[in-house]
């Protein structure tokens, strides 16, 4: 029984990791990463590692995606700068 659960969790993790890479939009990627964190936490619980599962839940599915979302928000805030290149804000040359 445990073996079946572990296999299912492993496949879930592998799928979530693949999806996190293939989602090219960072906003969506953050959400998938959050799901990956959840799947990993599940796997670690089945692997009898509650400490690691708890950390992964806190870090992998909350803090890291949150930081990514905040970064995306900062980067996209300027109007008209979806993903294109516009004038750098650096010093004049």
């Amino acid at each position: 029984m445990t073996d079946v659960l572990i296999v299912v969790a492993l496949l879930l993790v592998a799928g979530a990791a693949t999806a996190a890479v293939l989602n090219r939009d960072p906003m969506r990627q953050a959400l998938v990463l959050s799901f990956l964190g959840l799947a990993l936490a599940l796997l670690f619980t089945f692997l009898q590692a509650p400490d690691v599962a708890l950390s992964q839940l806190a870090v992998g599915s909350a803090v890291t995606p949150l930081m990514i979302l905040l970064t995306v928000r900062k980067v996209r805030r300027r109007p008209g700068s979806g993903d294109g290149v516009d004038k750098p804000a650096g010093r004049e040359r």
Partner: protein, 266 residues
């Protein structure tokens, strides 16, 4: 390189890596049957020091030196992020607009906040007995504080979050860890040796210095993560780049102070 060439370089490398890794996996003992001489010794060592959670014992006693390195990584990453996300010379701040929050959301968040904070503190305190500890609890507590951002708005968060205090708290956590280690040396033992009484297995005060180090890590992680998230929020909400419009610009460049200090005074 063009994307095509880059992909080919990667594919050749990945093929080699995959072959190597697969060969290694086939030579590994089957899943679930790996021998663990070190693990067995660690369990004995943890029980000899009356620490019920062996992982906490490994982290804060047997391999406490690793955790010192780990906390220093967190510590320096937080200083690094603070320095990197500082307000650059050519940027200015604007006050964030007060946001309207739906009452149900506000109620939910305000109800969850104390509960989540409590869970965080509980997890820190019980590190040597049950799963969890300074790190996990610290992250939970720090994240919980940010529920306020959902509940009220950014300004409410800033009021309960005197950043200077958290920055000092982070440094104090790091210092406490090192000083606990040094105290053992002064007591005539090895650095980071467990010199306190071990207490009774599975009680709150068990584990000797493991408990102290756990608390130090809890302090450092809570403060560190708060500072970290604050810096990102700061960038996302307040700091304006040159040439960026909107809001009410508040140029703090020549006034000698800056946002944080002004807020602290307020």
């Amino acid at each position: 390189m063009s994307p095509r060439v880059r992909l080919w370089v990667f594919l050749v490398g990945a093929a080699g890596f995959a072959a190597l890794f697969a060969a290694a996996c086939l030579d590994l003992p089957a899943f679930g049957t790996v021998p663990h001489p070190y693990g067995v010794r660690a369990v004995h060592a943890a029980l000899s020091h009356h620490t019920a959670n062996v992982i906490a014992s490994v982290n804060f006693d047997l391999r406490a030196f690793d955790t010192l390195g780990e906390e220093s990584i967190l510590f320096s990453a937080v200083i690094g992020t603070v320095v990197l996300l500082r307000q650059a010379r050519d940027e200015h701040r604007k006050d964030p607009e007060p946001a309207t929050v739906h009452p149900p959301v506000r109620r939910f968040a305000l109800l969850t906040l104390p509960f989540a904070l409590l869970v965080g503190l509980y997890v820190i305190a019980h590190g040597q007995i049950s799963p969890g500890g300074g790190f996990q609890g610290g992250v939970v507590a720090a994240t919980a504080l940010h529920l306020l951002y959902i509940a009220a708005d950014y300004r409410a968060l800033e009021r309960v979050r005197p950043l200077t205090l958290y920055e000092i708290g982070e440094a104090a956590g790091e210092a406490a860890y090192v000083i606990t280690g040094l105290a053992a040396v002064l007591a005539g033992s090895a650095f980071l040796a467990n010199v306190l009484p071990f207490g009774t297995l599975a009680t709150l005060s068990s584990g000797g210095t493991a408990m102290v180090l756990n608390a130090a890590v809890g302090l450092e992680v809570t403060s560190g993560i708060v500072v970290l998230l604050a810096r990102f929020l700061d960038q996302a909400v307040e700091i304006e780049e040159p040439g960026e419009g909107g809001g009410s610009p508040r140029d703090t460049r020549d006034s000698g102070g800056n946002g944080d200090d002004e807020r602290e005074r307020a």
